[in-house]
């Protein structure tokens, strides 16, 4: 039985400000085991980044309301105190962000930013932490790592900056790595390098990883399992190969149809008509129904429950038959 790193049940995240509430995440269930890579796929505003941040409780505390069950490393994240979270962040779970330019502090050196977490969590001296920082930079394949320690973020290229960001995230050997679109801000050629690197390191360290992206190609490259997110819910979840070849949910099919990939030569790309729903005022039924060509009246009446046509796969659509 592998370690369960994350257990989420009916996880909901709402942002409340000035009386109005945005329902960003509306009941997400999933487990993540050690060594597993889950990719959360979805368009902007689908709640994927919010879900990811919720796992570390990094959403703005003053306006975020979380409910449901969320356990990370066996710890109840929703009820945890700030002190408990601080001991969890870094050594157990850490995050890589989309934009390495703004996610790094511009007035501190890369070396300082890598080693400060090590000093904080492992009680190493500054000098030992620096040595470890060099190892980390070498691990993420930063050339002349020793020299880069004293570099400031603005002195590095985008790819190197993201590598430094990864080194920071890995600095306390986390068991769970969260990646929030880490390749979106990078050149295509650098993207694939970073993805390969992440995959290698993940396997080497046996980490669990949750990877958020809107890019199907990226998801296919790195994931073991894919979860497709729409309007704050997982509409489909399953192993990567099945998901990519025979998606269950109409929204997943729509995403696939709108993407250029192997075998799509000669076929016409399709688009999904309409726009995502207003998260302040969600429909009672399936949130995708207004855009769905296969929608029927039950779709609008009530939220379809999760159906499992085969073990390990699930979708929220009335057209999917549950088989025990």
């Amino acid at each position: 039985m592998p370690d369960t790193l994350v257990k989420a049940r009916q996880l909901k995240v709402r942002f409340v400000q000035n009386g109005s509430a945005i329902n960003a995440v509306n009941g997400v269930d999933f487990d993540l085991n050690a060594g597993e890579v889950l990719c959360i796929l979805g368009e902007s505003g689908s709640g994927k980044s919010v879900t990811l941040r919720a796992l570390m409780r990094l959403n703005p505390p003053s306006k975020t309301v979380m409910s449901g069950t969320l356990e990370v490393g066996g710890r109840d994240i929703i009820a945890a105190t700030e002190d408990e979270l601080e001991t969890l962040r870094g050594p157990f779970v850490s995050m890589i962000f989309q934009e390495p330019m703004t996610a790094l502090d511009p007035v501190f050196t890369i070396g300082h930013q890598i080693s400060e977490a090590i000093v904080r969590h492992e009680g190493l001296s500054r000098r030992d932490a620096k040595l470890r920082a060099i190892e980390l930079l070498e691990m993420v394949q930063v050339p002349s790592a020793k020299r880069r320690l004293s570099a400031y973020p603005h002195e590095l290229s985008g790819g190197l900056r993201q590598r430094a960001m990864i080194a920071i995230a890995l600095s306390c050997r986390p068991k769970l790595l969260l990646a929030d679109e880490p390749t979106t801000a990078l050149d295509a050629s650098v993207q694939i390098q970073i993805l390969t690197l992440l995959r290698e390191i993940q396997q080497e360290m046996g980490m669990g990883m949750i990877f958020v992206t809107h890019d199907l190609g990226v998801a296919g490259e790195i994931a073991d399992r894919i979860a497709v997110m729409y309007a704050g819910r997982f509409v489909e979840e399953g192993p990567v190969v099945e998901m990519m070849t025979a998606p269950l949910h109409p929204y997943s099919r729509g995403l696939l149809g709108a993407t250029v990939r192997e075998g799509s030569r000669g076929t016409r790309l399709t688009t999904i008509p309409g726009a995502p729903p207003d998260l302040r005022d969600l429909p009672d039924g399936c949130a995708f129904a207004p855009r769905c060509s296969e929608a029927q009246s039950p779709c609008l009446a009530a939220l379809p429950d999760l159906r499992t046509p085969e073990p390990g796969r699930a979708a929220r659509c009335i057209h999917v038959e549950s088989r025990p």
């Binding site: 941040r53 570390m56 990094l58 979270l85 601080e86 001991t87 969890l88 962040r89 870094g90 050594p91 850490s94 995050m95 962000f97 934009e99 703004t102 996610a103 790094l104 502090d105 511009p106 007035v107 501190f108 400060e116 977490a117 904080r120 969590h121 400031y152 603005h154 002195e155 960001m165 920071i168 600095s171 306390c172």
Partner: protein
Amino acid sequence: MLQYTFRRVLYAIPIALAVSLVCFLLVHIAPGDPIDAILPPDASAETVAMVRKDYGLDKPLPIQFGLWLMHVVQGDFGRSIANRRLVSEELVSAAGKTFILASSAAGLGFVIGCVLGGLAAAFRGTWVDRLAVGFAVGGVSVPHYWLGMVLVIIFSVLLGWLPSIGAGPGDWAWNWAHIRHLILPAVTLSVIPAGLVTRTVRGVVVEILSQDFMTTLKGKGLNRARVMLHVVKNAAPSALAVMGLQLGYLMGGSILVETVFAWPGTGMMLNQAIFQRDIPMLQGATLVLAMIFVALNLIVDLIQTALDPRMRRT
């Protein structure tokens, strides 16, 4: 870096020239004659002409300016028309007094401003924020001389705790007999920099707190104190820039505050020199103050560069 500093020091030369020229011209454009201030109104025409010649005031303006400049380059600021004392000596004593007052006020204002600004940003939108911003607006808006007089009425007249005028007996020393003279003018003067620094620090810290890297820092599991270190280092360049400029203004000596408290600094000296058309005094004081201003700006720039690597110049 060294080259940059050197270049900045060189820039001070044209600035100094321009400042002295403008000041010289302004004094001569303004109505009034220095001779009137030193001679009794019934002095004979010959006496006036003699005194005028004595001070070199009979020569054409460009020549007067040239002569003055030549002496200044040699370190000779001349003698005061009003009291025949050496301008340089007067300047050193007044600037010293003003420096004590200005740096105390600036230090006080900086500390108050950083604390209030930081609190306002940390508790944005709450009553703490509104109170701090209210204080900042009040501090910038309240007339100095009025505040000075109110403080004198409360602490000198009603309570009798602190003296209302002067800088204490004899030469300055850091003891209670002197410091008690410093408190009221320093507090009065600190209100404007405190207000400005509060607003700046609040704005800068609010912006820093909304930056992505704050999430990264929290995500690393750093505690509040360590996150604070990042906030402080990011906010410091802007706060110091405002403070440096304010210190520059304060070094000019607040004419009003120094007059209210009879503090013998550059402000009071300039005030007297203007009324007496004491040209050598005015010229010398303006030049020295302008140079202090330039020097402070340079120091602020260098500190900023040291703190924020993105500003590094070659």
